[in-house]
Assembly symmetry: C2
Homo-oligomer: 262 residues x 2
Amino acid sequence: METVVPIAVMDPTVSGRVRPRRRTAPEGVDPISALIRKLDGFAPLTEPDRAALVGLARYVRPVERHTVLVEQDGVADHALVVFAGFVSRYKRRASGRRQILAYLIPGDLCDRGALHGYPLDHTIETLTRCRIAKVPRTAYLELIGEHPGVALALQRAKLAEEATAHEWMANIGMRSGPERMAHLLCELLERLGSIGQVAAGQFDMPLTQTDLAETLGLSSVHVNRVLQTLRRNGLITLQGHRLQILAPRQLRELAEFEAGYL
Amino acid sequence: METVVPIAVMDPTVSGRVRPRRRTAPEGVDPISALIRKLDGFAPLTEPDRAALVGLARYVRPVERHTVLVEQDGVADHALVVFAGFVSRYKRRASGRRQILAYLIPGDLCDRGALHGYPLDHTIETLTRCRIAKVPRTAYLELIGEHPGVALALQRAKLAEEATAHEWMANIGMRSGPERMAHLLCELLERLGSIGQVAAGQFDMPLTQTDLAETLGLSSVHVNRVLQTLRRNGLITLQGHRLQILAPRQLRELAEFEAGYL
DNA sequence: CGTGTTTTTGAATCATATCAACGCAGGTGG
DNA sequence: CCACCTGCGTTGATATGATTCAAAAACACG
């Protein structure tokens, strides 16, 4: 599967500033409505429910890339809502090697530690520059206390998160490098699509090849080669941090990706 | 690390019927009390709570090995409580390859599908002959409805499960074969120990090498060789399905195992 | 005892890791 | 405006961990 043919897309004379790179997250759907739409998909929300969620916007702040939001073994005193950017949960080994356990993307919410006062078993850190709402514990408890519809939707969202975690485990445990990558890209296509950040099979993929490696349990060098394989086979295009899915069907086939678990 | 020296423990003249093998689970703590003790550790239980849990024993039935309890995409109409034996959650690929996502051991409870009427994203199947309580949906809802202490403990138990899943993901994603195996054995030592099924660093480990392979994301052949390495290094002994941890400290060190997340 | 499952072994091959180095692009400071 | 620095992507060469295939030995079970 791996040959040594030079790749047109990577040719220095061809690649380069084809598109300006962006450090900030792009438009897409208004992020608060991303959260609302997502939760509404899990359980129908009333108007007061929506209003309460809109009120969360008051807590939004910009956060730099590589900022630790909750340290491992720490207890969070707030819930997090991602409005823009990518956030990771990860575990670190003594050797320094990391394993990313999950991504949080715009519209995702994280309340571990805020509800049950348990210390976290992993670290939460931004992968990119982000816009994040830190909702104080009391405000968050009040929100779900007074809005059972929201509470139910959140519970179901957590089930979906768990299903995704299962997918990731199966991905790392029983797929080859290219298959893992394909699966991850399919998932991103689906998740980003559901919040309106995909247009014509194209989306911003701000993750570094090292990030991808730490997600998929591969070395960054191998990730680089896997991506080249996918490009060479005409499945994707990736320049700067802009990803284009050229052949969604084949990509899903390669990954045995089953939509709908999100 | 891998040499071709013959291994004393495996020498046919030495091994053999050193201990009678058992297909049925051993004594240990009375299994209903395993459940109670575990839940009580998460949140203090009242006498009525305990009585209600004891009442679950009425649903216990023996189940054969390799019995599917809940099929993938199926909706369960009951909660499961394991009283004896090992149960697995797993995902299957089209190729037939499987990835085990979690073990349920005596004292563990599984209510997915019973509470929220969602279809399951994986299959639940016995790995050994078991004794399992299938608690009807209504009885289960009544139990947690009338016993908030139990409900709270169950919620916390679910958090611990999640932490274990994170450990597994990190295990598969960033550890070598021997390290993965060491980590899994450390976890089993801890979990089985907490339900009184470990004596003098020894316990019954009814899992097949193929089961272990599907858990750790390795081939069964490689699992066999990894186990030989651990034996050769004096870390464990494994005859029949009896496992002895000879050097717990070194095993934990190899695995970078941190106790206490359970 | 015979039969099916599990463990063990060997040999060949493959996938992925590791190490080392280079180039490009962007940001920074003189 | 240029020189420098840093982060990220890319490449090659090499090492090795892990898989696959095939088969025999050991064992469990009826």
